[in-house]
């Protein structure tokens, strides 16, 4: 029973991790927060779905290509959000960035309703629905698929950040913007890059969950806040923290829902958020007394 809960918790958790990663990357890199992350998540799923099933004159693409299209779309949206909502308001203060981002999430959601309608669509499952049975435990192949892809994405991210010049530059800028400038690294570049990478992750998360969930214009709203909780839980701005936080949140949610009461599931995620912020603001893997959030 418990194991069953943990496994399905890990599946959803790995997706939380991706979204949490997106939040943490942006925070550590640009000192900003993208409150429209959930809608990026949603948009990517819709775009990928459209690519997969083909639209108008466009031919239907294979899954892999569709994913690519969706992720690219997400990163472009991220770029726009940075340049319109974040960069313009950076001088005016957090309040304005917040307002602009929220404007964007509404914009994306209502545009989605206009383009794809509000009824939502089913994302064709990529792998069999038949559950694998291990003893009394049932494992949905889909869950394994999700975990696998998220893991790969995280590994790729790790290599990008640690092994490539641009990735290192992003980390450098995250640690000391001014000096990074002295190395000839322009902020505009790294900031945009950070937003695009983060949006890629959020987008990928959306596409991964699409077959498990149903693709609707509203699918992003809850995920984004779960992503925040996960990021804070692991330590806001910490990359490994985000991964851990996501998995942990997924499992905690599932177990508590299974053993206590399912109806208070969301309350639990909120509660975790409040408790962490109050008693361990640096999170599980964050630096104590690290930069203010």
């Amino acid at each position: 029973m418990i194991i069953q809960l943990i496994i399905s918790g890990l599946a959803i958790g790995s997706v939380y991790s991706l979204v949490a990663l997106a939040h943490s990357l942006i925070w550590s890199g640009v000192r900003a927060v993208n409150f429209a992350q959930g809608e990026v998540f949603m948009a990517a799923a819709f775009v990928a779905l459209t690519a997969l099933s083909g639209a108008g004159r466009l031919p239907a693409l294979p899954f892999g290509a569709a994913v690519l299209v969706g992720v690219v779309a997400a990163s472009l949206i991220g770029l726009v959000i940075y340049n319109v909502a974040i960069r313009t308001t950076s001088k005016k203060g957090f309040l304005y960035a917040l307002g602009a981002c929220i404007g964007f999430s509404t914009l994306l959601q209502s545009s989605a309703i206009l383009i794809w309608g509000s009824t939502g669509e089913q994302f064709p499952a990529q792998i069999s629905m038949v559950p694998l049975r291990v003893g009394s435990i049932f494992i949905a192949p889909q869950d394994l698929f999700i975990m696998g892809i998220s893991l790969t994405a995280m590994i790729i991210l790790y290599f990008f950040l640690s092994k490539t010049r641009l990735g290192t530059a992003m980390r450098a800028a995250a640690q000391n913007r001014e000096v990074a400038g002295l190395m000839g690294i322009s902020h505009r570049l790294t900031d945009s890059l950070t937003f695009m990478v983060a949006s890629c992750l959020a987008g990928l998360a959306g596409i991964l969950l699409a077959p498990k969930f149903f693709v609707t214009p509203q699918m992003g709203s809850m995920i984004s806040s779960k992503g925040f909780t996960a990021a804070v839980l692991g330590g806001f701005g910490s990359i490994p923290g985000a991964v851990l936080g996501g998995l942990l949140l997924g499992v905690l949610e599932n177990i508590s829902a299974g053993l206590i009461s399912s109806s208070y599931k969301d309350a639990i995620s909120f509660l975790i958020m409040v408790l962490i912020i109050m008693f361990k603001p640096e999170g599980l893997l964050g630096v104590k007394g690290g930069r203010k959030a």
């Binding site: 010049r165 290192t168 530059a169 980390r171 450098a172 640690q175 000391n176 001014e178 000096v179 990074a180 400038g181 002295l182 190395m183 000839g184 690294i185 322009s186």
Partner: protein, 519 residues
């Protein structure tokens, strides 16, 4: 009235305030001086409750206030100003001061809501009190101006007035004269005297030695967290330890001859451009700065700075802190843009270009405090230096060259930059600069916070780089060390160049000492 007993404050490993004893008599003016990073401001934060002491005891008018909260102590009668002006910008001057005047008044929520006569009378009283303070200080006519709209000097005064409005017994002034012009400073001295005369005890941190020496009866000198000397201004000025703490130890004097003999060997041509020894002969100025004026907000930090540097030259720029050395380098390297004046680099006007553009022209700035990327490995840090370059082979060579310069770095190539010692970080910072193939290298306070031995080591490498034909502009507080390695020297005092000459002569020039210690 203030009695501090072996007060200590640690931040992690660093000991910012080291076992300090201090007695301040009722009604005196106490000067608190010391070079950068000597823990003066931390000391203030401890007394005023903004930081908790690690150990030790603070007594104020007989009561133990070691664990007092900042706002609590303000009500107890300890007022302070801040090193970097921190006014309520959105408020008018009067509002700023009134906010302080209500220090001892109860909130009186309901009566305020209903605006009962009594509370109105009280509010009026507060406003009058604030007004009195403004009149006492002599800025009453600015009462309704927005605080942020005032000139810098006046903002300092407003901050002092705000502190006064809490009717303190002890007033802590943190570099009140910073960024003031001579006349403003005169008024300030006079004001502090009047404040003191009105029965307020004053402790003042100040870098303008003339001012503080003239003002304080007793002066306490801190160096790297501990009290090194206390006494009358004259005594302090003569005290060798004080002079050393400011002007620095002898440094690598032995290398001086070497420094003069220095001829670009061109063995490894760091600048990438071919460069024959003769180049130094002709009038080819690699850098020429003319009548540069830079401001922080309303503060004029650089005043018509003009100087020229030849290709291959090694110039030291010295002066007490607050003199504007760093600002000058930041302006040249494009991290801030000047209000007026021009910076010519190899004849090209680079004034106001963004820093990454200027880097692209091989003008490299090694910032104060090194700016090592703490979470990047040593090698990654170095590679970031070569961010703009794509010539993989050459980058490899240079990497090896840097490791040649600093063998320690080679050993630690995979360590995180943050885990290095101060000296190693400095080497890393210089190495990183070399990686971007500098033509002109701006070095900011490489000796800061380093043990003398390391200082020598760092300066030696810098000299070697110069021998390799690199043009260097070195900024140093540690005047002696700097002058011992450089060929030429400039002395900067409160924003303007006051002396210029061969390093050897400046080294013993009394005027230099004056620039630091006044008198």
């Amino acid at each position: 009235m203030l009695r501090v007993q072996n007060l200590t404050k640690r931040f992690g490993g660093l000991v910012a305030v080291d076992n300090i004893d201090l007695h301040v008599r009722e009604g005196e003016i106490r000067g608190l001086i010391g070079p950068n990073g000597s823990g003066k401001t931390t000391f203030f934060n401890l007394i005023s409750g903004f930081d908790r002491a690690t150990s030790g005891k603070i007594e104020f008018m007989g009561s133990d206030i070691t664990a007092g909260s900042a706002h609590g102590l303000a009500r107890k009668g300890i007022a302070r100003t801040f090193q970097h002006i921190d006014l309520f910008k959105g408020m008018t001057v009067l509002e700023n001061v009134t906010a302080a005047a209500q220090c001892h008044a109860r909130p009186r929520f309901w009566s305020s809501l209903l605006g009962t006569p009594s509370v109105r009378k009280e509010d009026q009283a507060l406003r009058n009190l604030a007004m009195e303070q403004l009149e006492f200080v002599g800025i009453a006519d600015h009462a309704d101006d927005l605080a942020s709209s005032l000139p810098y000097g006046l903002q300092r005064i407003v901050e002092i007035t705000r502190a006064l409005a809490t009717r303190p017994a002890l007033l802590l002034l943190d570099e009140p004269a910073a960024g003031m012009n001579p006349t403003e400073k005169q008024d300030l001295v006079e004001l502090v005297r009047r404040i003191n005369a009105s029965g307020v005890t004053v402790i003042i941190i100040e870098h303008d030695m003339r001012l503080v020496m003239g003002l304080a009866e007793t002066i306490t000198v801190l160096d790297s967290g501990s009290k090194i000397c206390e006494g009358l201004p004259a005594e302090v000025q003569g005290n060798p330890r004080v002079i050393e703490s400011y002007l620095g130890s002898g440094g690598v004097g032995k290398k001086q001859t070497h420094a003069y003999a220095a001829e670009p060997s061109g063995a490894l041509d760091v600048s990438g451009a071919s460069q024959n020894p003769a180049a130094k002969g002709q009038d080819s100025f690699i850098l020429s700065v003319d009548s540069l004026n830079s401001y922080y907000g309303n503060v004029r930090v650089l005043k018509d700075i003009s100087f020229k540097m030849r290709e291959g030259e090694f110039t030291a720029l010295i002066g007490a802190n607050g003199a504007g050395k760093t600002t000058l380098l930041r302006t040249i390297s494009g991290m801030m843009s000047p209000r007026s004046g021009r910076v010519l680099y190899k004849g090209e006007d680079i004034t106001g270009l963004s820093s990454d553009r200027i880097v692209a022209r091989n003008l490299i700035y090694v910032p104060e405090g090194r700016g090592v990327f703490p979470a990047l490995s040593v090698q990654e840090n170095l590679m970031m230096g070569a961010f703009r370059r794509s010539d993989k082979e050459a980058i490899k060579e240079d990497l090896e060259y840097v490791f040649g310069l600093f063998p320690r770095l080679k050993d630690r190539r995979n360590q995180k930059g943050g885990s290095l010692s101060g000296g190693e970080q400095q080497m890393l910072a210089i190495g990183r600069a070399v990686m971007s193939r500098p033509r002109l290298l701006l070095l900011d306070e490489p000796s800061m916070g380093l043990a003398p031995k390391l200082v020598d080591e760092v300066f030696e490498t810098v000299m070697n780089l110069h021998d390799e034909g690199l043009t260097i502009l070195l900024v140093e507080q540690n005047a002696r060390a700097a002058l011992s390695v450089a060929e030429r020297g400039f002395v900067l005092e409160v924003g303007s160049l006051v002396h210029e000459g061969p390093a050897a002569q400046l080294c013993d020039d009394p005027a230099v000492k004056a620039a630091y210690l006044g008198g």
